[in-house]
Symmetry: C3
Subunit: 150 residues, 3 copies
Amino acid sequence: MKYRSGLTAWLVIIFVFVPLGLLRAQASSEEKPFAEAHVVLQLSDQERESVVLDVANNLIRHYGGPDLIDIEIITFGPGVRLLLADSEHETRIDSLVEYGVRFYICENTLDSMERETGVRPEVNPQAVPVQTGVAYILEKVAEGYTLVRP
Amino acid sequence: MKYRSGLTAWLVIIFVFVPLGLLRAQASSEEKPFAEAHVVLQLSDQERESVVLDVANNLIRHYGGPDLIDIEIITFGPGVRLLLADSEHETRIDSLVEYGVRFYICENTLDSMERETGVRPEVNPQAVPVQTGVAYILEKVAEGYTLVRP
Amino acid sequence: MKYRSGLTAWLVIIFVFVPLGLLRAQASSEEKPFAEAHVVLQLSDQERESVVLDVANNLIRHYGGPDLIDIEIITFGPGVRLLLADSEHETRIDSLVEYGVRFYICENTLDSMERETGVRPEVNPQAVPVQTGVAYILEKVAEGYTLVRP
């Protein structure tokens, strides 16, 4: 009985608390298993396009390579223009994607643009669509990502 | 003795670690007991008024209704204009308040405006005054809310 | 055997879980041991200089004195101008530094400015240089600071 009581406490620690701790610590370990930090860069102002891309590049350099930092760039509102087909930053986006940076675009914003102009804007094929940009941010923060709006 | 040692470990787990975990997880469960996420939207730029209101509406739609997402909108600096009596967004504010969104206005900002103009601006009665906008944000984040500045 | 099993569970709780909890809670207790909140204020827009300084002052007033709130101001991109030698805010910076507010400047930004203009800008001696502003933010958030971009 007493042995089992101690054992159960151990089992609780091993199977409940340890996994909970890991869940908090290991944000998206599938994407970047060796990353020292996990960051969501928010782009919702068109004039911040270059700053966001610079920050992504600086972070990769700072951490010593693309495997050591896990970066997602989430665009919504006027920020989506970075990921439209005619963006001037296409080359920089491609090179960041090769480094494992993921780009997301808010479909609610695209829906609004379509309603206003009658045409749905053409999107960069590198961009992953998500329905609601800020809801996606909330999910990532819950997984352990740090939100930064450069 | 041994039984009590195991039992005490259990009691520590149940009364110390489990409540600590719940404290972290349950942000403001009184306001929105069924909310899946708790978010503070910061408005400190006048030109972001519409974006902040759009984000609130999109989140309510995304989560499937006003009970499933807990939203506070905190205004300070030039952002307070959304909550002054002559705001063009009064109807949208009223409809978000009906959905349980809470609006806060920074009294330090109102104090500064009064000092500069000699008149204290009239405030939308839906706005809850807080002394210092950013201090209120820090409290909410400590309760488990995620801060987003759209 | 059984006694040791219970004891080991205790030791695990005391030496593993308790310190982990403290690590999370005690952000930078060396700098401001009595601080009730730890905040990183991000300045990356030149037009937000005054707002950031106002927020720092308001927080110190709100918490009842400089020992009760731990504030770091991190500048990068166009935000670094606050900390260049010719800034109009030098007096306000000095008075905040006396209150224990720390100012940081991103060296990557200074490097870019030097590449563009041929001259490295002169920096306020109160500013502490960090290589990559956003990487420094990520470190502070991991230590328990709350990031706010006023």
